[in-house]
């Protein structure tokens, strides 16, 4: 299963590292990263592969939310299907 992780918030040191650490710990492979600054807002979109994930989706989501709180940014983990359904024929 593939998912998108979107990180939005004020730019600061260590955001990518914080997110990657949680992912690596849970055997989530990052397939693509895209990062931009939109009006001073850090926006990062990652495509990740969850096929090696050893915990369930909700647990990973909770860990990511916890990390988001530490970093002071908003992070969302959503299965890729929702974006494909809405934007691809």
């Amino acid at each position: 299963m593939k998912a998108f992780i979107t990180v939005i918030g004020e730019d600061r040191v260590g955001i990518i590292q914080g997110v990657i650490t949680v992912l690596a710990k849970n055997k989530v492979n990052v397939m693509d990263i895209n990062q931009t600054l939109l009006q001073n807002y850090f926006t990062m979109i990652m495509l990740v592969d969850l096929s090696q994930l050893e915990i369930d989706f909700k647990q990973l989501n909770d860990e990511i939310k916890e990390e988001a709180e530490k970093l002071g940014v908003t992070i969302r983990l959503q299965r890729q299907d929702i974006f494909k359904a809405m934007h691809e024929l």
Binding site: F4, T6, D32, N34, T36, T43, I45, L47, F57, K58, N61, R76, L77, Q78, R79, Q80, D81, I82, F83, K84, A85, M86, H87, E88
Partner: protein, 452 residues
Amino acid sequence: MIDNKSIIETIQMIEKERLDIRTITMGISLLDCADSDGAKSRQKIYDKIVRKAENLVKIGEQIETEFGIPIIHKRISVTPISLVAQSSSDTSYVEYAKILDKAAKTVGVNFIGGFSALVHKGCTPGDRILINSIPEALAVTDLVCSSVNVGNSKVGINMNAVRDMGEIIKQAAYLTRERESIGCAKLVVFGNAVEDNPFMAGAFHGVGEADCVINVGVSGPGVIKSALENVKGESFDVVAETIKKTAFKITRAGQLVATEASKRLGVPFGIVDLSLAPTPAVGDSVARILEEMGLEICGCHGTTAALAMLNDAVKKGGIMASSHVGGLSGAFIPVSEDEGMIKAVEAGALNIEKLEAMTCVCSVGLDMIAIPGDTPASTISGIIADEVAIGVINNKTTAVRLIPVYGKGLGDRAVFGGLLGEAPIMKVSEFSSEAFIDRGGRIPSPVHSFKN
């Protein structure tokens, strides 16, 4: 990889514009739960609902987390109870309503619909018992919703049932008088009721349906409004295209959730209902979409045309996005549940006559309208007759959900709370429909029903 703009657009729709899946509704047939012993029948009903819907809420929440899209309601619709209960010798069906309520609470859904009777041509003794049980059933239960179909395009209108429903609505209002007559908010009178509607209070599981199905209702008035903000001043050609494209995206999300829920629950997928269902929250209003098209306020001249176009464009966009479309599929215009509608009524721009005109071009009908508590039953029946006539003649579903709020009159407000919202009491005609309603009988099938 999907481009970033599309990803951010979806997130914005969900976060800022309140895109949600309004409901996953599991339709369950209770036809195999009839029994000559009422208590046995109710046990079968309870067992079947709990067995079928055991994982509905859990799986709904899983899907919500994984896709990151809120699923506001998880609900159940069942076979019209009059069809199941009339095998028993019971003379009241209130106990059936209680068992539905109990089953709904056990599985954790937030509404269960189907305390219903289909009497568009006539009543069986069981239908009559059910109808007479409605006021008490709605007063003593929390989650049970009720509906009665009193007419359709094939057979005309059962005016005896129309007359009776005026009285039933008044009784329901009285029995829940301590709670703003909220019983009436759980009761819908239909013309051309559909068998696969996932939305409450009018959902029931029709007799032509399979044993168990999953129907999904999408929503998203805020998303449509926001899309229209980007085409200010453009022609209607552009407005219609914009609505179609947006409705397509919304419906695709609904279809995805429906397919996923159906797979995980092991229950066939029924339909996606493409409705724009508002809530009282700011930014989730159908009225505000109409205003975005250029109306000073919802209810002014042009409102019916705006709504007609909105309704049509939503369908055109949505139909291609789903493998099976059904239910009510159109824009809802409830008053108390739509922040913009409430404001329009308060400003004196929107009245019941204009709302009636609007129901000719959208789904569904006069919905969540608070009227004076002393409105005569015959006036309520007159309103029902008008509304059902619109549906019967125009081959569409129409419905009436009026709340004659006990003890309240013009200038007062009724506060129902939650998604049911609040509403100013609206004026109804002070002239009498009594002699008209007293006639009873049937309004014959309309000429366009003779197609054989």
